[in-house]
């Protein structure tokens, strides 16, 4: 364990922390532009966070300690996951062996579980609705997610994201094989669902069908800023997994020099912009589904994951 490895590991976390609002801003700005509007600029999420951190904190009377703890725990979860996945380097760093893909998924889910409890905690009607809807979506999405993990495991014979990355870089036959392509599609649908994108639900504020926003409706000021930042970081982390592990495994730092790490960060941003463009197209073309049809995209994702597992039989 050298000093450089530790610095790189810190750099991974800092990358996720700093660039998460940028990706959110880019997606929102692109969407506005496609709809022929001006858009607030790609730096708007930073300004929002700055504003919220300087606002007063209002806490409901009915809130317990959970109300205070949940945002901090969720934020910490999002700071933990970048230690485990290839953000900048394509080799494991000192703490990367703490957990495999399933472990990372567990930490991510724990973060949203805490927010869910906080939504129920204050006893407001909207928080309850939001939490129950979020649990419903979770129940629908979880089997597909587990099957995608099983598919990845069968593909790479390992549950470590680094092994998957190396395999896809080294063997183009596996990369273009049906098993991998179906996994990519299955994961893409999950990505849309987990990051609040359209076929399932948009992230618009105050309206009847809100899910993500309803859970955090009671929050204000710095705690709200933390929660918003958590959501953006979750999106960034999922995009990182999608790009660096599954779809575009190239362009990571191999030796771990400072220049290489900086280049990897730039490459990561470029890859994410590419994914964001596709997401924006999907969001513009798709209309929102009714609540009782949410299971349809997730059933499709489940199915694609199963087909990927079947296609694995070939090797």
């Amino acid at each position: 364990m050298t000093l450089r490895d530790i610095l790189l590991q810190i750099a991974q976390v800092v990358t996720v922390l700093l660039f998460a609002p940028l990706i959110q801003g880019i997606i929102l700005q692109f969407e506005e532009r496609i709809q022929r509007a001006q858009g607030p600029g790609i730096l708007q999420p930073y300004r929002d966070l700055w504003k919220l951190f300087h606002k007063q904190l209002v806490v409901p009377k009915s809130a317990s300690w959970l109300f205070w703890v949940a945002p901090v725990v969720a934020f910490t979860c999002m700071l933990t996951v970048p230690l485990l996945i290839p953000v900048l380097t394509n080799y494991p760093l000192p703490l990367s062996d703490m957990a495999d893909i399933l472990g990372g998924g567990l930490i991510l889910t724990f973060g949203s579980f805490m927010i869910l409890l906080a939504g129920l905690d204050s006893g407001s009607a909207y928080g309850g609705i939001g939490s129950s809807r979020a649990v419903m979506l979770g129940i629908l999405a979880e089997p597909a997610l587990i099957l995608v993990f099983v598919g990845i495991t069968l593909l790479a014979k390992s549950m470590l994201p680094f092994v998957v990355n190396h395999l896809l870089v080294r063997q183009p036959a596996v990369y273009w094989g049906p098993a991998h392509l179906f996994l990519v599609f299955a994961f893409f649908i999950l990505l849309l669902v987990e990051t609040d994108r359209l076929p399932v639900h948009s992230s618009t504020h105050i309206e009847v069908y809100m899910i993500e926003e309803a859970r955090i409706l009671e929050y204000s000021g710095p705690l709200l800023a933390l929660l918003k930042w958590t959501a953006m970081m979750k999106q960034f982390i999922l995009y990182t997994i999608f790009c660096n592990v599954l779809t575009l495994p190239w362009g990571l730092s191999i030796q771990g020099t400072a220049l290489g790490a900086a280049g990897a960060a730039v490459a990561l941003l470029l890859k994410m912009v590419l994914v964001a463009l596709i997401v924006v197209c999907v969001e513009t073309a798709q209309s929102r589904l009714r609540f009782y049809r949410y299971q349809e995209p997730l059933a499709a994702s489940f199915l694609l994951a199963i087909l990927a597992i079947v296609a694995n039989q070939l090797r």
Partner: protein
Amino acid sequence: MLITHLNPLAASLFSLLAIVSLLLSFVMLGSRWLRDYLLAFMLESWLIGLLSAAVGYFDHYRELYLIALLTVIFRGMLLPYLILRIIRRLDVDRELHVVLAPSSSLVVGALLVIFAFMVASRLGAQLGLTGTVAVLALTVMLSMKLIGFLMLAVRHEAISQILGLLVLENGIFLGSQILVPGMPLLIELVILFDLLVVVVSFSVLVRYLLAHVGSTSSRELKRLVG
């Protein structure tokens, strides 16, 4: 058998075509509109035609080109055209009474695929074919048959039932193309004409249903008449 020593490119091409046709049968299972159904079936037949041409090219079976051509003409153009005519005449656009919602039937179909997967891998392990394209073809064949049965079971419209039968048959044909590519030409021709007979007799049945029952849904056919 040639399937055990294929070159990797051919194997991945075969598996891609097989899996995409399985995906298309899921599209049929998950859609509500009869016309989407028919389009998916048409595309599936074209893919199977492509598959038999590819098998013919890589395994050097001349007569498979002819079979590919016949498949595309019969299954990819003639049968969809005949069914489209029936749909136009009926003005039934969609399945009216669904027994199983599309997403649930997708999940049931996925479970059937898992079942087929297990059966095929057991068979493949016993025959010493693990990891070859044969096991995959067996999986796709079994699961397309099961999906065809599922479609026959959960849909009531006469049109959906014809298409369920055709999917079932497509599955068998797809499997046979990869597993026993040298099947005599005559048998293939007989199968194709059989399909034509199936569609024609179904269209007679549809006419009968329209004239005597007033609807093409098999839900109305409950009463036994001696």
